[in-house]
Symmetry: C2
Subunit: 235 residues, 2 copies
Amino acid sequence: MPKLRVHNFAVSLDGYAAGPGQDRDNPLGRGGLAMHEWFFSTRTFRRMHGQDGGDAGIDDDFAARCTENVGAWIIGRNMFGPVRGPWVDESWKGWWGENPPFHTAVIVLTNHARPSLPMDGGTVFHFVTEGIEAALTRAMEAADSRDVVVGGGVSTIHQYLRAHFVDQMHLAVAPILLGCGESFFNGIDLRRLGYEVTDHTSSEKVTHVVISKQSPLREQAERTAACCREHGNGI
Amino acid sequence: MPKLRVHNFAVSLDGYAAGPGQDRDNPLGRGGLAMHEWFFSTRTFRRMHGQDGGDAGIDDDFAARCTENVGAWIIGRNMFGPVRGPWVDESWKGWWGENPPFHTAVIVLTNHARPSLPMDGGTVFHFVTEGIEAALTRAMEAADSRDVVVGGGVSTIHQYLRAHFVDQMHLAVAPILLGCGESFFNGIDLRRLGYEVTDHTSSEKVTHVVISKQSPLREQAERTAACCREHGNGI
């Protein structure tokens, strides 16, 4: 069975996945870029962007997984760009230039239809307006038995977690404090949803954590849900 | 200058310092004990409780710091015990038996006065009802030029952080998901308060993070506060 995976998703020590003030100059919000420095220096990141060099080691081992057996990506509209509301024109083609690093179909979750957008290097952006299940179906078709990666942001990943569609999620916890911004852990009870930490490894720069869906999901979810409902602080 | 320090304060990957349902049988809330397993197996923890053996290594190095140059502790009432409201009698003497592991003065922050309580091994619980500054003054007097440790829980540590009294804080981030409970990072903007991560080391069991107050505090706090206020998600 093809899997739905999350990779290289950076959160700060205090749980933020983006700093405040996301805009065209700060796609990760102010301060947010620092969480990704471990990734930028890896061999994998540099190769994805057509550059030589970069570091091998633990960080690169984790980074590289996002390219292994992946046939399609799903991203939220804010990850595609800073444009909000209806598309004024079709000039915005993503943050990544003419040759984006995906090289697969990329399903963009949006409320506003737009024709598919083929880019150099095999990336094709498809804009899906019928919700997360339709986007997943479209991505699985495009992936042709390979896995699908959910790229982000927080809202998109949360929707797929709540629907129990995410099989495995790799978080990179950066030892920095953002203080405010978009929280990854607020508003979602991963334990109740049946997820557990299955790997935990640190490099000098970051702590890598793998969170996996447990089976049988329903039994575990019900057991923990009862506890959280009782105390009114679950979701 | 004597310092105010936090040591061995465990939080889950999703940012909870205690599970839901704290009571006499579950002083750390349900599921909360698992965050402290790294500590229980250290040589330091076992020595503090009169036992031989235990593991050396990174975890023990961090654990041991809570005993170095410490002259007094401050703890919140919930860390002292499960009794709420006025003291019905004086039978509750803390979670730790006749010989608590502090061996110093321990200032208990409470709204309900009670006579000081000397225990075996040099620990004396003092109950302070005049707030965090009075408790700190009392602790510093008792510490006699050594440092003071704030033991917890979340509310007590937050009060000392917000007042900029905490100089250094060691968190042990356990690779487990609690899903709900008492969040450590919600409701406090550590960056705005002038704190930064100054050390980050992992063992097999846990990621140790040291957070330190930066100088000049005011300048930094103002710079980051402006950013968070603007976006309405600071505290």
